[in-house]
Every structure is written in structure tokens, then in C-alpha cells.
Amino acid sequence: MTQRPPARIAVLLAGVAALLLAGCSASSQHVTTLEFWTVGPEGEAFAQLLPEFEQANPDIDVRVQRIPLTAAHEKLLTAYAGDSLPDVVQIGNTWIAEFAALHALVPLQPRVAPSKVIHADDYFASAWATNVIDGTLYGIPWYIDTRLLFYRADLLRDAGFDTPPRNRAEWRAQMDAIRATSHGTRWGALLPTNEYDQLLALALQQHVPLLRDGDRYGNFGSAAFKRTLAFYADLFKRGDLPDWTNVQVGNPWQAFGRGEFVFYLSGPWNIGEFRKRLPASQQGEWSTAQLPGPNGPGDSVAYGSSLVILRHSKHQDAAWTLIEYLSRPDVQVRFYELLGDLPARRSAWESPALKGDPKLRAFRAQLEHMRPAPQVPEWEQIVNMMQQVAARAVAGELTVDEAAAQMDTQADAILAKRRWVLARQHAAIP
């Protein structure tokens, strides 16, 4: 009994060691393995196109990893800190400034110039501009994204309106009517209180920047922003909007289908989701409309995803091949058909699938009225803070003025390091 255990343990340790080694090492043969991270449903859609890509490029093997949107920013930063970033990432354009500041991205202009597939002037100007930081191009826009109104046309008619609202006052009036005619059983709209997109889209309509002084200080104390914040908080107070987070909603598509609310301020991926999740009988009942602004149809936020190559990638040529493939107009149209993703290229919009789709008309109009969020590395932190303070204003803990003041105080604190870094750079330039 005393002689056996060491031998058994040795075998067990050897087995574990083998498993450990297998888990750690990557397979390296003549095929280049490309790590591609996607955020949200694009990964699934890409998996359907993958066989076609790999047939055309037999020496590239693409490994796709899907990250949920709620965890994407965290995961990307963690991977950066842990030196485990992939080769290509589908990254939100509001984060490009951040990763460029971290020196994590490869400048792409040298590759775009000789490219036969990617031509800068075929892209929507606002989309292309969000990828240029301090004059250097860091990403290729993949699809564009914005926020506008999805709505139940049938329920809106029941409340007495044939057309969607054109300005904020009309929107508010329509939602009041919906509450009244449904005797409080139906909400006007769903704007989850823990999502910042909706308030951000409304705030960008005012044409007053959210950060001032070279993006070094918060500008939430401006009269324009306070007007928007007051409009937003007021909607909750009047009972047009439920004070819910997206956790409490549970399944928003089911809720939309059941008519729990009429308007849903969301993005283009929900075209695909509503087509998939709502029954065929209901497909004629929902539609899209441009975001109502203060005095008429308003701007929305210029979101989008770009494809970037990470600086530490050892397969940058293969990465570029993948990016070129995904930037082909016909492939962009396929993504639209699969998911509802809006192509970033004008030529893709000429295809019949997009030209003829009635649900896309509002998006096409909105695309001409988009404004980007401030392009500072700290933006994600600032906009999250903005929503947390706004949620407290919605809950009645803060007045609009107090909330705006707090947002400015906290934004200034978040930007403190940026001011120091900029001052240092400025001093370094003779």
C-alpha cells in the first residue's frame, strides 16, 4: 500500500500535465488561423458565410468568437490588459478612439490605398469619419447603426394617429393618448433606464457638444442638454415610459409583440429580430420612423461597427483579406438579409433587397441625419456615468439641474488624466 500511491499519483500528474499542455498550445500548421471576435449576432451570421470565405481562401482558417454586447467593452479591455486580443475585431466606432489611444490598432490607410475592394468614397461620410482619429484611419466601417423609433402602427391607429410623430411635442402627445385610450394598460414607449443609447441620441439632436474645450471638460450643464434631460425625465414622470431596466423587461420582442408598449427606441438589428421572432401575421403591424427632434425630424447617433486589425496580430495580411471580404458590397447585402445590419457602403444600398424594403425607408432618411458621439478614450466611462445619473433623475432622486451638475463634476474627474496627457504632449511639441 505504501509503494503504490506514488506511482499512481505520477501517472495522474502526467495525464494532467498532458491536458494542460494541450490546452495551452495552439495548433500551427501551414494554414493561418485567424481569431475573429464578433459582438452580438454578427458572429452567427458570419458562421453561415464562413464556408464560402474558406473555400475562396483555403489557407486561412477563421475562428469566430461571439461576445455579448453588454460585456464587449469589458472583454476587449481585459483582453488588451491580458495580452490576449485576437487578430480582427468587430468594434463599435465609439470605442475606436479608446483603442487607438492604447496603441492597440493598426493604421489601415496604407492598405486601403491599393485595395480593389475598399474605396473610401463609397462609404457614408459620417461613418468613415468616425474611424479617423487625429488624421489616421484605424478601422473600416462594416455596418452602420443608429437609433430610431420602431412602432406598432396598428396600436398607434387605435390611439387615434395615422402617422408617427415628427417632433418631440407630437411624440409626447401621442404617448399620452396611448396611455389614456388603453386605460393605463399600455406604455407609450420602452426606453430601458440602464441603456444610454436613447438619451444620447436625443442629446445629440441639440447640436451643442456634450464635451467642451477640446473634449477636455464636461458640457452637460448647457441649456440644450438640460432641455433634453428634462424632456426625457418628464416622459417617465407623466407615465408614458415605464421605469424599467432591460433586466426587468425580460424579453423585449415578446413584449413588443404583445403590445405592452407602442414605441421602441432601438437599432437596425431589431429589423431582423422582429422578423424572426414575431409571427408572420404581425409583420405588417410594425414599422420604423425617424427620431423626432425638437422642431421636426431630428438627428440620431452615428453608431456603427468597424473592422480593425490589432497591432499584436501575427497574421495581418490574412486579417486584411478577411476585412476585404466582409467589405464587399454583395457580402454586406447578405448580412442585411440575414440580420438587418445596414451596410456602410452606398453601393450596397442600391441592391433591390435594400431599395425595396419599406421598413428601411426611415433608416435611409435617418442616415443623412447622424451625429457622432465625442471621440475621446474615456467616452464609454462618461456615457455610462451619464446614464447612471440620468436614471437617478428619472427616479426622482435628483432634479434636472442637480443631475446636469453632477454629470459635469464626474465627467471632469474622468477626464483629468486626459487633460494631463494632452498638456504633456502639448509641452513636448517645441
Binding site: 469589458e74 479591455l77 481585459t78 488588451y80 490588459a81 479608446e98 489611444a101 492604447l102 496603441h103 492597440a104 440602464n194 421605469d243 424599467w244 431596466t245 433586466v247 426587468q248 425580460g250 478614450p377 466611462q381 447612471q388 436614471a391 437617478r392 427616479a395 432622486e397 474627474a413 488624466k417 494631463w420 496627457v421
Partner: protein
């Protein structure tokens, strides 16, 4: 080899691991908390600045830190006594001579302790769902209006407290049960002959005998409860309205979500300070009581 050298060789692996992967980082953490290490520093080391006690100063002036401390103290002050009550209660039940199927009950009541926090936290998130959760369903049937557990800032922390009590009470139950079983039966017999009621027996015999164990278990539980993290992370993500942000959640948020590692390190050390003071106070209080008893 002589015994002295042998001893050091035997100790070496463990001491090396503990030294390199625990003690060294603790001291480094102290140093880190005196800098403003953040994303810029992660990108380029030259962006690192030594800031002295500025992180601590900023934290002590930040409302969210005090809120987090408050939430954590709320969790400890309500959760620990509740948990100990449940542990003591179930231990007394299991120790009763009238109890049947003791091994089964003991195992069943202990089971939540060995489950993975993340897994059961997910279960509880569904059980307490405002619309479809079983808990609200039962409440409505009892005539109580449904509570918005996940959405109401006043109810989210109580839900987490209930969860923590459910998950951990079994651990202390086992220890207290062993303590109860160690009390000699003839003490109770003598008291019974003297005509003492069950409550008097509990107060005069059980409690004094259990006091040292209760104190030790209390200190361990307090120290564990201060480290509240997994539950807010999985169930509420710090919400609603940041009402379930604990000190460790703040540390994780600052350190590993936004990479303000200097600030996060300062949070960790402040927590350590609070825990140290709290457990030292409890220890002193316990010593005082024991010397009186």
C-alpha cells in the same frame, strides 16, 4: 540531511507560492494604490504618476464609495445575525432528540453551501423575477402585492441578503451542531430535575456553552460577508440605481472594467482596514464577555 534543512525544504514550495503569489502582491498593491495606474499607463508606462494618498483622498470624497460601504455594512449588519439565527435554529432542531432522519436533513440543509454561487445566483434571479417569478406568485396568492425585487432599489439588497443567508447558513449550522453535541447531557437532566423550563435551559446552559463558538463563527461570517461580490455581479450588476454596489464590486468595476487600478487598489486596502477594525472590535467584545462569564 539534518532535520532543520529538511524542514525548510518541506516548507519551501508552500512558502514560495504564498510569498510570490500572495504576500508580494499585497505589498505591491499598497504601492499601486499610491499611483494613478490606469489605461493610459497600461498603454505606456511613462503615463504613470506617483500621487501619494490622492486616491484615498478622492475615494473618501466620492459619494459612490460611501454608498458602497453603506450597502456592504447593511449586508453585514442584517445578514450576519439573520444567518446565525437560521444556523442556530436549524442546529437546535437537528440536535433535538425527537428529530428523525437526521443525516438526511443535515445533508439537505447543508447542500446550498457546496453549490456554485454563480449557478444558484442565476436561479434566484429567475425565482425573484417581478413578472414570472415564483416568489411574487406566492406573494400575490397570500394577498401581498408583488414586489419589484430586481427593479426597486429598496428591495434588491434584501433579496441578496436572503440569498446569502440561504446559501451559507448550513456551514455554521454544522459547526454549531457539533458545539451543541459537545454539551454534556447530564447538565440538561439536572436542570430538568430542578424544574427549569426549556427556555431557561437554553439561556443558562446552551447559550453560555456556545458563546465561544458563536463568537468565532460570527467573526468568520462577518469577515466573509464583507467580501460580497459574486451576488451583485451576477444578479443585479450593481443595480438598480447602484443600490447593490458593494465595496468589492466597486473595486472590480474600477479595477477590471475601467482599469483605474490605482483607485481600485485603494478601495481594496480601505476594505481591509474596515474589516480589520470590525473583526478586532468583535474579538475584543468577545474577550470581554468571556472574562465576565
Amino acid at each position: 540531511m539534518n532535520r532543520g534543512t529538511a524542514a525548510w525544504l518541506f516548507l519551501a514550495p508552500a512558502l514560495l507560492v504564498l510569498g510570490v503569489f500572495f504576500l508580494l502582491p499585497v505589498f505591491a498593491g499598497l504601492g499601486l494604490s499610491l499611483t494613478d495606474y490606469d489605461l493610459y499607463a497600461l498603454a505606456d508606462f511613462h503615463n504613470l504618476r506617483f500621487v501619494g494618498l490622492a486616491n484615498y483622498w478622492d475615494l473618501l470624497h466620492r459619494p459612490l464609495f460611501w454608498a458602497a460601504l453603506g450597502h456592504t455594512l447593511y449586508f453585514v449588519i442584517v445578514g450576519v445575525p439573520l444567518s446565525m439565527l437560521c444556523s442556530l435554529g436549524t442546529a437546535l432542531l437537528l440536535n433535538a432528540s425527537a428529530a428523525r432522519f437526521k443525516p438526511f436533513f443535515r445533508t439537505a440543509l447543508f447542500a446550498p453551501v457546496v453549490t456554485t454561487v454563480v449557478a444558484v445566483a442565476v436561479i434566484w434571479r429567475y425565482l425573484f423575477n417581478t413578472q414570472f417569478g415564483v416568489v411574487n406568485f406566492v406573494l400575490t396568492h397570500l394577498g401581498i402585492s408583488p414586489i419589484d425585487w430586481l427593479g426597486d432599489p429598496h428591495w434588491a439588497m434584501p433579496m441578496i441578503i436572503l440569498f446569502a443567508v440561504w446559501k451559507n447558513f448550513g456551514y455554521n449550522m454544522i459547526i454549531l451542531l457539533a458545539g451543541l453535541q459537545a454539551i454534556p447531557a447530564d447538565l440538561y437532566e439536572a436542570a430538568c430535575i430542578d424544574g427549569a423550563s426549556a427556555w431557561q435551559q437554553f439561556r443558562q446552559i446552551t447559550l453560555p456553552a456556545l458563546t465561544p463558538i458563536l463568537l468565532m463563527v460570527g467573526i468568520l461570517t462577518v469577515s466573509g460577508y464583507f467580501q460580497l461580490f459574486a451576488e451583485p455581479y451576477v444578479i443585479t450588476e450593481g443595480g438598480p440605481l447602484q443600490s447593490t454596489v458593494s465595496v468589492l464590486y466597486l473595486m472590480y468595476d474600477q479595477g477590471f472594467k475601467w482599469w483605474n487600478m490605482g483607485t481600485a487598489s485603494a478601495v481594496a486596502f480601505l476594505l481591509f482596514l474596515v474589516m480589520f477594525v470590525a473583526t478586532a472590535l468583535m474579538w475584543r467584545f468577545g474577550e470581554g464577555r468571556e472574562s465576565v462569564a
